[in-house]
């Protein structure tokens, strides 16, 4: 019997030389292509670098609150156990290969061993025990994190509604409706009650907690707390359509007094300006924007798009995917879909189906006016 053992003969050496040359060429071409393509990075319109206090602002392994810390502890427990198993099994594999590999093309006589019932029992029982050991902290943490906050904690209640592709936040205790940027008091539990207006989304601020889905027709909950004041980043974590990647959020944790001040300011209705460019902007707003956007204290009450009452107090817009600067606003108002992929052509406002902001065909003058008006909405 002939056993194909490896390369023999001239033919295979020729193959290998040709192959080596062709492969080297191929690799160089591929690297070149990638270098070229990497020049295709687009413009950054968020500027996270300049305001984040860490290189990894969404790092679940850098917990900043009790829930994320619980999870982090559980993670490292299972990680180290898994690593130990990994090292043992892979080492056994490599060791066995090296110890028993055929040498000099000759087979050794091999004992035809069929198995060992004792080993089977051992390597069934040990994993079962290991899993049982892991199960205990897992279940305990699960129930702990799923529990509603105790009334004594005086948790802040926030209602979250997911939309394609932005977050609606409602503070029932203050009567505040805002979008995409959530302010919370540091050191106090926040209890989110969540649903969706359209498809399934998922609320995720990794440094504060795991994620939880927002399901239309159902209510889900998440308890969140930040230890210290800070800025925390998150984004939608359940594919919700074309702009899923651009549905982001920011959580500002503040001292109790700063939070109270913020809440008081947010709860104030707005008196629209009566003079200058901003007043003209308010007129344009009523014509072009009020069918979807609300401004508390005015006749604009529609809830189909983010509430803009205190728009100028936010650092971002468009589902927290663009930094709020006049320049970005100008680009946005010229044609929103240029900055964020959406499907406004399928909008049906009377049926409540909103898939993004359409091109409003605004003139540059109207855009100037609107920006002036929006800048007054502190």
């Amino acid at each position: 019997m002939s056993v194909n053992d490896g390369d023999t003969g001239v033919g295979s050496r020729v193959i290998e030389r040709t192959l080596h040359r062709k492969r080297t060429l191929l690799m160089l071409l591929l690297f070149a292509a990638i270098l070229v393509l990497s020049a295709c990075a687009g413009t950054d319109r968020l500027g996270i670098d300049s305001i984040a206090d860490s290189d990894l602002p969404q790092n679940s392994l850098d917990p900043a609150g009790p829930a994320a810390r619980s999870i982090d502890g559980l993670w490292w427990l299972v990680f180290w156990i898994a690593t130990a198993v990994f090292v043992m099994v892979e080492a056994a594999l490599v060791f066995t290969i090296f110890k028993f590999r055929r040498r000099d093309g000759k087979d050794r006589p091999v004992k035809q061993v069929h198995g060992s019932t004792r080993l089977e029992i051992a390597w069934t029982i040990v994993p079962v025990v290991l899993m049982a050991a892991l199960a205990i902290p897992t279940i305990a943490t699960l129930f702990e994190l799923r529990a509603e906050p105790d009334p004594s904690e005086n948790a802040l209640q926030i209602g979250v509604t997911g939309h394609q592709w932005w977050w609606e936040f409602y503070y029932p205790e203050y009567g505040i409706t805002t979008a995409n940027e959530m302010h919370i008091p540091a050191g106090r539990a926040v209890y989110l009650t969540m649903t969706s207006a359209d498809v399934i989304h998922s609320f995720w601020v990794p440094r504060l907690n795991g994620k939880r889905d927002l399901v239309p027709g159902r209510t889900t909950n998440l308890t969140m707390e930040a230890d210290e004041p800070g800025l925390f980043f998150g984004q939608c974590a359940e594919f919700c359509g074309i702009a899923h990647a651009d549905m982001r959020q920011r959580v500002f944790a503040e001292s109790e007094s700063d939070f109270a001040a913020w809440a008081a300011a947010q709860a104030e209705p707005v008196t629209p300006p009566t003079e200058g460019l901003a007043a003209a902007g308010w007129d344009t707003f009523q014509i072009s924007c009020s069918s979807c956007h609300a401004i508390d204290g005015t006749s604009a009450v529609a809830k189909l798009a983010p509430d803009l009452t205190h728009f100028a107090s936010r650092t971002t817009f468009a589902g927290a995917s663009i930094a709020r600067t006049d320049g970005h606003l100008r680009e946005w108002l010229r044609n929103p879909v240029d900055l964020k992929p959406m499907r406004p052509e399928f909008n049906d406002l009377s049926a409540g189906r909103v898939l993004g902001m359409p091109d409003l065909d605004l003139t540059e003058q109207q855009i100037d006016e609107l920006i002036a008006f929006l800048d007054t909405l502190e």
């Binding site: 492969r23 950054d44 990994f86 198995g115 239309p216 990647a245």
Partner: protein, 621 residues
């Protein structure tokens, strides 16, 4: 050692097989159907691979502008759909088709025309799904199409392609599972008890029961999605009392057994390769078999671990965390038994063995990351991020694909009669191993650092740039490594070394035939006396427990029996499948598509009627 003269092709009944393209279109021979499946899987692998490379180019840099968000959604949906339904499943079907009858000592499967029909339905399903790119856009709702996103834009046909396409390829698998289960129960050679069946056959049995019971569930779900989209039903319409979570349950009740369908064939292949290239029997054979059965059963009890963040409540989440943790146990049993197989052996590191060992190494990583997923609170951070993308690729690519590539190198000589070049095989193995790890290992970190999956771009400042760029480089290395395989095939097609019937000193019955086998597989149906029956004809066990070659070696050159009946070729299966393809196209483009539905229905009826009237074999004498 066994010698075999070139097989005699005189057949005593049944007309000669037809030639050329028509021959392939009308074949009912399980070996040809296996080759059709395999060739199709390779083509779709290229399609799915290109989709992956496009994704990686887009993600190589922050704020990428290579692909639009719209194209990107189609790419990631189709990459997964293609790889799962049009590559891994058909590749496993290819090996099962070709080798199941050979491994159990049969001449063909139980229902040869049904077998052909399954293939044509699969092929038309794959064409149906892929041509959607050119006909209004490919599905873009993710491969598990969560409702109500999947039912939202019924003006656009994309997710109709998805709903109907999955039904179609699902039908192919369901019919094949009926076929294979019947074959395994009813067509084993005399003396081949269930426990003497090769482990690959046992895995095939478990897999086909998994498909049998899981496909109907997703069929119902997909019908409900299609009706919501096209008839205005309210299954997943939350505003009117529908529940999107119902979709998730229906999908994952299929989807989780499905992942075992994807991995068990590779586990079966590896369970054949390791003993052969260690010259020892599979360690703990019955335990490997029973743990495969256990995985099959337990696989139906873990599905909601895909739904840990859906808000099911702590009791349900805890229950599924437990069941998921414990399904790791039978998986571990298999791995330990594979280690026990090679321990003490005489390990020949030929390419099939390298891929099998690579499978073990990579699958251990994927299995362990799976265990971390089972810790439900930890999963609340991991799920829907690149961490789970890493996990699934370690088990599906590092596991299933590497295992199946091992099977390809192992069985290539039997199918083609030629050996692949060993040196090129080694280059393929090492480059794909390095490329694969370079691509997917960093994704564990990306996920934990906060990068969600299915995002067409990421901004600067989140720390995702470096690992994404590395992953893109790795993906191109994978692509390059596959070119090595194609080069190997090209160079050895005509000029490769002749394989002979038994190039690996194999243990199972397929190595008793010529390479390739004659159309009737076995000149005489073997009478089986042992597991690894062929090995026991070549070797006996000496007093010290080692194998001693039997002298003289067994004579495998047998006179073909009189009255070998083989299934006749038939074009009705292909016709019926083509008719159903036309029906599907009509359903996508309702209401004027009803014309196509009618025409397709007629063609299908003609095919089914002709099929039922046609005798299975022609009696010439």
């Amino acid at each position: 050692m066994a010698t075999l003269n070139p097989p005699r092709e005189e057949l005593h009944s049944s007309g000669p097989a037809r030639e050329g393209v028509w021959g392939w279109l009308t074949t009912t021979d399980h070996k040809k159907i296996g080759i059709l499946y395999g060739g199709s899987a390779i083509v779709f692998f290229l399609v799915g691979g290109i989709e992956a490379l496009l994704i990686r180019v887009q993600l190589a840099v922050p704020n990428g502008e290579f692909l639009s968000a719209d194209s990107y959604s189609q790419m990631f949906t189709m990459h997964a759909t293609t790889m799962v339904f049009l590559v891994v499943m058909p590749a496993a079907a290819a090996f099962t088709n070709y080798f199941l009858p050979l491994l159990i000592g049969a001449r063909d499967v139980a229902f040869p025309r049904l077998n052909a029909f399954s293939y044509w339905v699969f092929l038309f399903g794959g064409i149906f799904l892929t041509t959607s790119f050119f006909l209004g856009g490919a599905p873009d709702g993710g491969w598990f199409g969560y409702a109500p996103l999947s039912t939202q834009l019924n003006e656009v046909v994309r997710m109709d392609y998805w709903a109907l396409g999955l039904q179609f390829v699902g039908l192919a698998s369901l019919l094949a599972s009926v076929n294979f289960i019947t074959t395994i129960f009813a067509m084993r050679a005399p003396g081949m008890t269930l426990m003497r069946m090769p482990v690959f056959v046992w895995m095939a049995l478990v897999i086909n029961f998994l498909l049998l019971f899981s496909l109907p569930i997703i069929t119902v779900g997909l019908i409900e999605v299609f009706l919501d989209r096209n008839l205005g039903t309210l299954f997943f319409d939350a505003a009117n009392g529908g529940d999107p979570i119902l979709w998730q349950h229906l999908f994952w009740l299929f989807g989780h057994p499905e992942v075992y369908v994807l991995i068990l064939p590779a586990m079966g292949v590896v369970s054949e390769i390791l003993p052969t290239f260690s010259r020892k029997p599979l360690f703990g054979r019955s335990f490997v078999i029973f743990s495969g059965i256990a995985i099959g059963f337990m696989g139906f009890g873990v599905w909601a671990h895909h739904m840990f963040t859906a808000g099911l409540g702590p009791v349900a989440e805890a229950a599924f965390a437990l069941t998921t943790m414990f399904i790791a146990v039978p998986t571990g049993v298999k791995i330990f038994n594979w280690l026990g197989t090679i321990w003490g052996g005489s390990i020949r590191l030929a390419t099939p063995m390298l891929f099998s060992l690579g499978f073990i190494a990579m699958f251990v990583i994927g299995g362990l990351s799976g265990v971390t997923h089972s810790i439900a609170p930890a999963d609340w951070q991991q799920t829907d991020t690149y961490y789970v993308v890493a996990h699934l690729h370690y088990v599906l690519f590092g596991g299933a694909v590497l295992g199946l590539l091992g099977g390809l190198y192992y069985w290539w000589p039997k199918i083609t009669g030629k050996m692949l070049h060993e040196g090129l095989g080694k280059i393929h193995f090492w480059s794909i191993l390095v490329g694969f790890n370079l691509t997917f290992a960093p994704m564990h970190l990306l996920g934990l650092n906060g990068m969600p999956r299915r995002t067409y771009r990421y901004p600067e400042g989140l720390g995702f740039e470096f690992w994404n760029f590395l992953a893109t480089l790795g993906s191109f290395l994978i692509a390059a490594s596959m070119l090595v395989l194609f080069w190997n095939i090209y160079r050895t097609w005509r000029r490769g070394e002749v394989a002979g019937p038994d190039p690996w000193d194999g243990r199972t019955l397929e190595w008793t035939t010529s390479s390739p086998p004659p159309v009737y597989n076995f000149a005489q149906i073997p009478v089986v006396e042992h597991e690894d029956d062929f090995w026991h004809r070549k070797y006996t066990t000496s007093e010290d427990g080692t194998s001693v070659a039997i002298d003289p070696p067994p004579n495998m050159d047998l006179e073909p029996d009189a009255n070998i009946h083989l299934p006749s070729p038939s074009f009705y299966p292909a016709l019926a499948a083509a008719g159903m393809f036309v029906i599907l196209m009509g359903l996508v483009y309702l209401p004027w598509g009803l014309v196509a539905v009618g025409a397709g229905f007629l063609a299908t009826m003609w095919g089914l009627f002709g099929w039922s009237m046609e005798p299975l074999t022609r009696e010439d004498h």
